[in-house]
């Protein structure tokens, strides 16, 4: 039984460009640069030095603390440098540069055959942690940490996020079609780690072939494959929980507060790879697409691969003027294409004739209020932000904004509402830091 979440919008999906394109495996070559920070939390600490030889899957950076993740060599070769590269947040990030030797040889102990069902939940957790797995839906939260909720928060339901509600992106779709066994295998392991009674796979109705594929693989097992109506942001964690379980994550809380854990399908596949074959997170599926891309595609590509290798064969038009990491609703616009694929790079979107919008006055049409999945009044927040009224914005629940972009998408005045909201949140964060420091 599928429920509705409030609000939402229906942007054009543009998924026809790539939904039918089978995953192309891109072989590693040249210099791959693995950033030490590709996840939420503390960056990894390099444990190799310039000149070291490394093998595919070998650990090259240690996790620092509980909310962190190790990094691994995506192919065999030599460490040619440890130096900063362009990061996705506009700041440089330290990276380990590895020149591929063309052999792609596995490190010892990697790519073995192992029965994941024989592993205990604790062993599975250690494997997930050691494999450097982070949330691959874009948030890049360290998965081992997410799968270790405190005992006071028992988990009775685990959801697999196969929604991929962002326009243009089709990586998860192809993954479920072509590697569905691994996705389901990983989901089973996650369920076992958490001891969850209820297990549901959620897939949006624009991927009925993936629904059929997953249903076939699930067979008669006690896992529901639920079809959800196409509405953005159906794949947002909170909205998915509402739709599949009719529960709401308490304001300011996390899904575990209502007994739920949500995992992206690609993360589940990575968990299976680590458990069954001891392969750490060294590659992912990325969709490169956009109206400026004449030859889009879904690629299985090693972490650290420079974008230019993907762009080279994608036939970018000369009017391309925007590069977004992720989807068009929540992705991060970039200043340069000189970046590398990281654990969170689900989509590379290249747009042409992109406009910058000045934004006019709010005409109070109410479309943003109708569309907001969090039940906020985005127009009020945008006006408060415009007028620097930060404390009043806190009263308007600005902290509950998930920055999904629905409000800004629908605004007829083209107001940059999400931008105002980020501005407000940033200022409130600074205020909180100032207050903490003043309190000593």
């Amino acid at each position: 039984m599928v429920h509705k979440f409030n609000g939402g919008v229906h942007p054009l999906s543009h998924k026809d460009r790539t939904r039918g394109l089978a995953i192309e495996v891109l072989a590693p070559n040249g210099v791959l640069a693995v950033p030490v920070s590709q996840h939420i939390g503390a960056p990894a600490k390099p444990i190799v030095a310039k000149g070291d030889a490394v093998l595919r899957g070998q650990k090259i950076g240690d996790a620092q603390g509980a909310v962190s993740a190790p990094i691994h060599a995506p192919t065999s070769g030599t460490v040619v440098n440890i130096a900063p590269i362009n990061g996705q947040f506009g700041r440089p990030v330290m990276a380990i540069h590895i020149e591929a030797d063309g052999l792609d040889a596995w490190a010892e102990g990697c790519n073995i055959e192992r029965d994941p069902d024989a592993l205990s939940p604790k062993e599975l957790l250690d494997i997930v942690r050691e494999a450097g797995i982070v949330g691959m839906g874009g948030a890049t939260f360290p998965t081992a940490f997410k799968l270790t909720p405190p005992p006071s928060k028992p988990i009775d339901a685990v959801l697999l996020n196969g929604i991929e509600c962002e326009p243009y992106l089709t990586g998860d779709h192809r993954l479920m079609l072509e590697q569905g066994e691994q996705v389901l295998g990983g989901f089973r392991l996650i369920r076992r780690i958490l001891g969850a009674k209820i297990a549901i796979i959620g897939i949006e109705a624009n991927k009925m072939d993936a629904v059929a594929a997953m249903r076939k693989i699930v067979g008669s097992e006690d896992i529901e494959v639920a079809v959800l109506p196409v509405k953005y942001p159906q794949g947002a964690e909170k909205q998915l929980i509402k739709a599949l379980l009719n529960r709401e994550v308490p304001s300011g809380g996390l899904p575990m507060d209502c007994g739920v854990v949500v995992q992206n399908c690609a993360t589940a596949a990575a968990v299976w790879q680590a458990a069954a074959k001891n392969i750490p997170m060294i590659e992912r599926i990325t969709t490169i697409t956009g109206d400026a891309v004449r030859r889009p595609g879904n690629y299985q590509v090693r972490i650290g691969t420079p974008f230019e290798q993907l762009l080279a064969s994608s036939r970018i038009t000369s009017e391309a003027n925007k590069l977004v990491l992720g989807g068009p609703m929540m992705g991060l616009a970039q200043q340069t294409s000189e970046l590398v694929v990281t654990k969170g790079t689900g989509g590379i979107l290249i747009l042409e004739h992109a406009e910058s919008f000045e934004g006019g006055p709010c005409i109070r049409c109410g479309r943003c209020v109708e569309g907001c999945p969090s039940g906020l009044v985005p127009s009020a927040l945008s006006v408060l932000g415009e007028n620097l009224k930060f404390d009043e914005a806190a009263d308007f629940n600005v902290a509950d904004c998930i920055e999904c972009g629905v409000c800004t998408f629908v605004c007829p005045s083209r107001r940059p509402i999400v931008h105002y909201i980020r501005f407000i949140k940033d200022e409130l964060r600074r205020q909180a830091v100032r207050e903490r420091e003043a309190a000593g």
Binding site: L245, I316, E319, A333, I363, G375, N397, V418
Partner: protein, 395 residues
């Protein structure tokens, strides 16, 4: 569009902005110009029924609105926004709520007050609390009271559009002069004229000939052949425009529906006074819906009375186009419901117990005043708060 493909491309000179990076095709000017188009049918009927003078009034009001906005923005040295169509909407509405016989300066003053004072003094588009067209109308209602309360002329059927609606006497009479249906009802239910009317059914069947007031034939009323302001007479034309706006999503269906339904219910049930006889003895209170008893034929009288409330007096224009103005109405669903019902209540109260036969204009303005408070009190429920999180739900 050139589709150069290159083997390798290094992209820089990239546009960097906050997400989202796509927008729906909706825009303020698209909304405004669509509203203009949906007003044209009703304005058109008005021009047909009231003649070329009505066209001049509309052109003056619209032109003055555009000109006023242009001048003010020039003087303030801010970007000129007349192309977004919002001034055209206001100007057209000002003209549509005027009688067809007003002097040229009435629509001009109405528009200048609407645009200059009600809109730009509050900061321009989006900043005003009160519906600008209604402020303009309220101003001229009071300032040019005589012109606004008389001159209810109607072209004869043989002289539609081409006739001069001012020619009601002498040779080549083009038009007839009557009080509006709303005036007649208002006078009756507030215990005034006309004399010799002892029941609602008598009021409603007042003859259409002669020089006295008359209730229009229902078919005529729906099409628009009746007295009133230029743009308020044709229910069908207004409905066509309004339904289109609802279909496009620019108007929420429940706002005009609740407004009209509230007026219907209250007009049926709110007691009104009737003179009993010429001597004014024994004024009695009647409930319009049941004034003739509760038999089927007699309920019809009440229903006819209610339907005149809905068709006349600018209710359709107000419910579909004024109460639904985005800027001056609440922004949440709960708020809009309260707003619509409030407008309905005030309209009937003003019409039935107030001094003017007019209720729509002032009731909407009064509710506009309440909108900031309504918005404050009617915020939607935030996800993750309230009853939804009390239990763990289930599956």
């Amino acid at each position: 569009m050139s589709s150069e493909s290159k083997e390798y491309r290094h992209l820089d000179k990239l546009l960097v902005s906050s997400s989202p990076h796509i927008r729906s095709p909706e825009s303020t000017s698209r909304i405004m110009w669509t509203v203009v188009c949906t007003l044209i049918p009703a304005a058109g009927v008005g021009v047909v029924v009231f003649g070329w003078r009505a066209l001049i009034v509309l052109m003056l009001s619209t032109g003055a609105a555009i000109g006023c906005e242009y001048l003010i923005q020039r003087l303030r040295k801010v970007p000129i926004t007349i192309r977004d169509g919002s001034a055209v909407v206001t100007g057209l509405l000002v003209g549509m709520v005027l009688p067809p016989t007003v002097q040229w300066y009435v629509p001009v003053v109405g528009s200048v007050v609407a645009i200059g004072i009600a809109k730009h003094l509050f900061g321009g588009l989006g900043g005003n609390i009160w519906n600008p067209a209604l402020i303009g109308r309220a101003f001229v209602h009071v300032t040019f009271a005589e012109q606004m309360n008389s001159g209810w002329h109607l072209l004869k059927p043989s002289r539609l559009f081409v006739g001069d609606v001012m020619k009601v006497a002498g040779e080549n009479v083009d038009a007839v002069s009557r009080a509006t249906p709303m005036t007649l009802i208002h006078q009756t239910v507030t215990g005034g004229e006309p004399e010799g009317i002892n029941s609602l059914s008598e009021v409603l069947s007042v003859s259409q000939s002669g020089s006295g007031p008359f209730m229009p034939d229902p078919a005529h009323a729906l099409l628009g052949y009746m007295n009133g302001c230029i743009g308020e007479v044709s229910v069908i034309a207004l409905l066509l425009g309004g339904l289109f706006l609802i279909w496009r999503g620019y108007v929420k269906w429940y706002v005009p529906a609740l407004y009209i339904a509230t007026v219907a219910v209250l007009a049926a049930l709110l007691p009104v006074t009737m003179h009993v006889n010429e001597m004014g003895l024994g004024d009695r209170w009647i409930v319009p819906m049941f004034s003739e008893g509760t038999g089927q034929a007699t309920l019809a009288v009440g229903a006819t009375y209610v339907s005149y409330h809905l068709i006349c007096g600018g209710l359709m224009l107000g419910a579909l186009f004024m109460a639904t103005d985005m800027v001056t109405s609440p922004i949440t669903r709960k708020g809009l419901i309260i707003f619509a019902v409030g407008c309905g209540v005030l309209t009937v109260l003003l019409r039935t117990y107030g001094g003017y036969p007019e209720g729509v204009c002032f009731s909407i303005l009064l509710m506009n005043t309440a909108v900031p408070v309504i918005d404050r009190l009617c915020k939607p429920r935030v996800y993750g708060t309230g009853k939804a999180v009390a239990g763990k739900g289930g599956k």
